[in-house]
């Protein structure tokens, strides 16, 4: 077995580690509290259902605005960036803005669903736009030329043809929301405890590891089954630009701008209030500087781990079973991933600074792979094949052909992971006993209803995250220049 095969197996084992851990630990020593379990499942299911439904409805509406921007590239790109902005930000910022915007905030299932909808409807809009263009482009043009009415087309073609796509996208968002941890932890309240939060409470509050394992197993099986149904493979690439005048509608742009504008304004208002409060500067303690340093360490280490992980995937590709595994892989829930890392070895001293980056990398790498890394590698496949048939070794192919062409993208994606890590509090809360980072300190302030202070504190995260992002984007460009032939 050569080095590449070993690395490939190593990567697969890394991805499967939480599930292997779960299987080795699974023992029913006592029957779980069925009533509590059903209650948590019902909460998870309800919030995920409402979130997915809301995201789908608003997302489809917003997608009609993205379609109408197809004639003028700048406008469309702007709306697309606005749509994806909440996915690039750590959830902490959306939560702060939402809590500041709605006062009193509807804690519980409504609150969780609201935040999830704000976070996901833009992503749905982008996915729907691609789907509509590919599946309905030609038909829409034809119907338009032949004089079909909008209502007629929408009811007789648009909805029936895209029915399956709606279901797939609904299930896709459902799975994301069902496994969400950071949002229910903050806005779930006592009546909105989801399975993820219950697992966390079992481990951290009551130390009931047996019940936590049973819950994690049930949740993983459920998510796996839904993901299996939801998986539809990539949407084929758009063959030609089509005129979608029959269905495009600019009103969705108002929705996108209103929601994203409300987030930005609400955050800015909270920041202003935080800065102008006389006791604002009390947050600047010694702990704060330590937490800032901790955030830098976490951001950089997650970024480096993800950068190396992405390059490792590139080095191990192409291999059809490996690529199929990565495409079909369902990331473990936050609680399960952290749980498996937590139980291995000690957790004191600097150990959390090793375990937190590992857990965040484990949770982020598969998302990064789907966020353009697989497409990037796919585009280089024929170059790799031709180099291989010329007799080039896999190392030569990687260093001379693949690396110089993908390092910039790897830098961008790992910069993004670094931003997520800087704003993380959920993974850190499970793996660390005290506030190690600005994200954790912000969450502590937020939980103590000191919202303006929390927003002020989070502005430091923006600075640190921005520096980490710049480090990876800039660093990858330097490496490209250095290693270019």
């Amino acid at each position: 077995m050569n080095l590449r095969s070993l690395l490939r197996i190593g990567l697969v084992l890394f991805f499967l580690f939480p599930f292997i851990f779960l299987l080795t630990q699974f023992r029913i020593s006592e029957s779980p509290d069925i009533e509590e379990l059903l209650w948590a499942f019902r909460n998870s299911f309800s919030q995920a259902f409402l979130s997915a439904l809301g995201s789908l409805v608003l997302g489809v509406w917003a997608s009609l605005a993205l379609l109408s921007g197809s004639d003028s590239g700048g406008r469309r790109r702007f709306l697309k960036v606005m749509c994806l902005f909440p996915n690039f930000l750590p959830p902490l910022f959306i939560l702060l803005a939402a809590l500041n915007f709605l006062n009193p905030f509807p804690m519980g299932l409504t609150g969780i669903s609201l935040v999830h909808i704000v976070m996901n409807f833009g992503l749905v809009a982008v996915l729907m736009t691609e789907t509509i263009e590919v599946r309905l482009g030609g038909v829409t043009e034809l119907a338009y030329v032949e004089g079909a009415g909008r209502w007629q087309f929408m009811t007789q073609v648009f909805l029936p043809v895209l029915r399956k796509d709606f279901l797939h996208i609904f299930l896709f968002v459902f799975v994301i929301c069902f496994g969400s941890f950071s949002v229910p932890l903050i806005v779930g309240g006592i009546h909105g405890t989801t399975v993820e939060v219950l697992i966390y409470e079992k481990i951290r509050m009551s130390g009931d590891w047996g019940a936590a394992v049973v819950l994690a197993l049930l949740q993983s099986v459920f998510i796996f089954l839904i993901s299996f149904v939801a998986f539809r493979g990539p949407v084929p690439a758009l063959q030609k630009i089509t005129n979608l005048s029959l269905i495009k509608n600019s009103s969705g742009a108002v929705l996108i701008i209103a929601v994203m504008g409300a987030i930005a304004l609400s955050y800015a208002q909270g920041l202003y209030r935080g800065l102008t409060q006389p006791i604002a500067w009390t947050i600047f303690t010694d702990d704060l500087w330590q937490a800032t340093l901790g955030t830098v360490v976490l951001g950089l280490s997650v970024g480096i781990c993800c950068y190396l992980g992405l390059l490792l995937i590139a080095y191990c590709s192409p291999k059809s079973w490996f690529e199929r595994f990565l495409t079909g892989y369902v990331a473990p829930s936050t609680a399960l991933a952290c749980f498996s890392v937590l139980i291995v070895g000690p957790n004191e001293g600097v150990i959390p600074f090793i375990k937190i980056p590992l857990a965040i990398t484990l949770l982020s790498l598969s998302s990064l792979y789907r966020m353009g890394w697989s497409t990037e590698l796919q585009a280089l496949r024929s170059q790799a094949q031709i180099s291989y048939s010329m007799g080039a070794s896999s190392w030569q192919i990687f260093t001379e052909i693949i690396f110089p062409q993908v390092t910039t993208r790897a830098g961008f994606l790992s910069g993004l992971a670094a931003v997520w890590a800087c704003g993380d509090y959920a993974v850190s809360r499970i793996l660390a006993h005290r506030d190690l980072s600005l994200g954790m300190m912000t969450e502590t302030l937020m939980s103590g209803y000191r919202l303006n202070h929390a927003i002020l504190m989070s502005s430091l995260i923006v600075v640190v995250a921005g520096l980490c992002f710049a480090f990876f984007v800039g660093g990858s460009r330097v490496l490209r220049r250095k290693f270019s032939p």
């Binding site: 180099s387 048939s389 010329m390």
Partner: protein
């Protein structure tokens, strides 16, 4: 002569069934057929990019079918040309020399010869991404020849060029193959390629070689 035997593979909705096929070890063998006939599948199997268990390919006494793709020592030009866009034309060509571990001095000499034969001197230092279609094609052919292959495989190499350039390019490739005496397998659906280049024509339809004949000229 070079013999391919038992090139049989089932793709589910399509099957290749070539019990025996002869590829010239001098001159150009053209595999000609309509779209969907299986030309590209045959091409990829011969290159070793797709498996075909049981295939034997005897070339000058050696069974290439048992070797991995890099060990078959073939030169290849795909329809898409696939130049490395981050490298210059020269770096693209020299990559093949490094891949085959050809001494740098020898590679340099070979490069000079190729750049003169293929009229590439004017654009050798230019990035591959800015070359014109015709220039890219010449670089792709030079890169395929740089590794000193035992056989050159060309998959629709002229299809991306416009009509005028295509004719010029055909003549250039024909001259080069003739001068270097390198056996070539050309996969094409263009009858004009057959007319200009073929020494032997094998016609493929629905995954089978249905006819083999000598050159028209």
């Amino acid at each position: 002569m070079s013999y391919v035997e038992n090139l049989v593979r089932n793709y589910g909705d399509f099957a290749l069934d070539i019990p025996q096929w002869e590829i010239l070890d001098k001159g150009v063998t053209v595999l000609w057929g309509p779209s969907g006939a299986g030309k590209t599948s045959v091409f990829r199997i011969l290159l070793g990019l797709e498996d075909c268990p049981g295939m034997r390919w005897t070339f000058q006494g050696e069974d290439l079918g048992k070797l991995k793709s890099p060990d078959r020592r073939l030169g290849v030009v795909f329809q898409t040309l696939d130049l490395f866009p981050h490298m210059t034309a020269e770096q693209n060509i020299l990559f093949a020399a490094r891949a085959r571990k050809i001494e740098p001095q020898r590679a340099r000499k070979h490069l000079e010869q190729l750049s003169s034969d293929l009229r590439m001197k004017a654009f050798l230092r230019r990035p591959a991404s800015v070359l014109s279609g015709g220039e890219k094609q010449r670089v792709a052919i030079a890169r395929a020849l740089m590794g000193e292959p035992r056989l050159l495989l060309l998959d629709e190499p002229f299809s991306a060029l416009d009509q005028e350039l295509r004719e010029d390019s055909r003549q250039l490739v024909a001259h080069l193959i003739d001068e270097r005496k390198i056996p070539t397998l050309l996969v094409t659906h263009d009858p004009r390629d057959v007319e200009v280049l073929a020494d032997k024509i094998s016609i493929i339809k629905s995954g089978r070689i249905v006819e083999e004949k000598a050159s028209l000229s």
